[in-house]
């Protein structure tokens, strides 16, 4: 199945941040039901968004939208917490690596 190049990353981000109009939202839902690659891109972008949020890499407006519209359910908050934990684990492993290289 070919990727649908018509669907821009911006649309996916807006879907995740819940800022698409209802009409565009319905249109996008139909597209990812029909297109497996688009569904994978959607899941991937969701992970990127969470990672960028916990690493303070979102713009101020995206950060606000993320907090208002994305992190609204216990399940999603748990995902964000898990991403924060991964950040700690990865950062610790980076420190270990630096320490090892100085030994």
């Amino acid at each position: 199945m070919k990727e649908n190049p018509m669907v821009k990353n911006e649309i996916i981000k807006q879907y995740l941040l819940n800022t698409l109009s209802e009409k565009d939202r319905i249109g996008f839902e139909i597209q990812y039901f029909e297109d497996d690659d688009l569904f994978q891109r959607l899941q991937m972008m969701e992970e990127e968004l969470i990672t960028d949020y916990v690493n303070d890499r979102l713009t101020a407006s995206d950060r606000r939208l993320f907090e208002e519209h994305y992190s609204v359910t216990p399940e999603r908050r748990q995902r964000i917490e898990t991403a924060r934990n991964w950040k700690i684990v990865i950062s610790d492993s980076r420190l270990e690596q630096v320490t090892d290289s100085h030994r």
Binding site: V89, I90, S93
Partner: protein, 214 residues
């Protein structure tokens, strides 16, 4: 009243999902069926995802309910259906309206009903320590199980901005998109699976397509 799962409808669903990809391909029956089952699991994930995005707390149950209704309708409706995916989305949309109405009704109930809702109306959140040292230790174990190359890749990726990620992709001789979609996505998936196993959870945080007989 117990409702019966329509296994004939489920077979029609599998056939339609199989036909959607395999037209013109020559595979034996078993391979075709396995591929149709894979397509079914993916369809279930999409329904589950859609319902979660639409605000249904019990989205996994909603996905099962959608499949249940689709398989009940398919024997009579299949001639009229142009796209099985669009049909499933339509049914999922109706299920979402019903679930959201039910959620709204529960929220208007007296306090004790909200604090002690019937189990089938609640979303189970695993009772896990959010950031305990134990959890971090589990995660360190999982990270340590990755190949050194993957560990380095994810360390660099997570710690970098777009320009640095672009540079990483160039060093690997792939596009940024391929780096994100093939390498990083699959490493994260591997970490998730490994952590689920370590915590004794069902893979992919209990994502569970409706049971069916094979």
């Amino acid at each position: 009243m117990t409702r019966e799962f329509n296994s004939h409808g489920f077979e029609i669903l599998l056939n339609q999902l199989g036909e959607a990809v395999e037209s013109g391909s020559r595979f034996d029956g078993e391979v075709l069926r396995e591929r149709a089952l894979e397509r079914y699991r993916l369809l279930w994930s999409k329904i589950d995802y859609f319902l979660e995005r639409r605000g249904c707390r019990d989205h996994e149950d909603g996905a099962d309910e959608t499949i249940f209704r689709v398989t009940s309708l398919l024997p009579q409706e299949r001639e009229k259906i142009n796209s099985i995916h669009a049909f499933c989305l339509g049914v999922a949309r109706l299920v979402s309206y019903e679930y959201l109405r039910m959620q709204a009704r529960i929220e208007q109930m007296p306090d004790d009903y909200i604090t002690n809702p019937p189990p089938h109306l609640t979303t189970y959140i695993a009772d896990e320590p959010a950031r305990s040292e134990e959890m971090l230790e589990y995660m360190r174990d999982c990270f340590g199980k990755l190949s050194l190359e993957d560990q380095e890749l994810i360390r660099r990726y997570v710690g970098s901005g777009r320009d640095e990620r672009q540079k990483m992709a160039e060093e690997l001789g792939i596009s940024l998109k391929a780096l994100q979609e093939r390498r990083i996505f699959s490493i994260r998936k591997c970490l998730r699976r490994s952590l689920d196993e370590r915590l004794g959870r069902c893979p992919e945080t209990s994502k569970r397509p409706l049971c069916f007989s094979q």
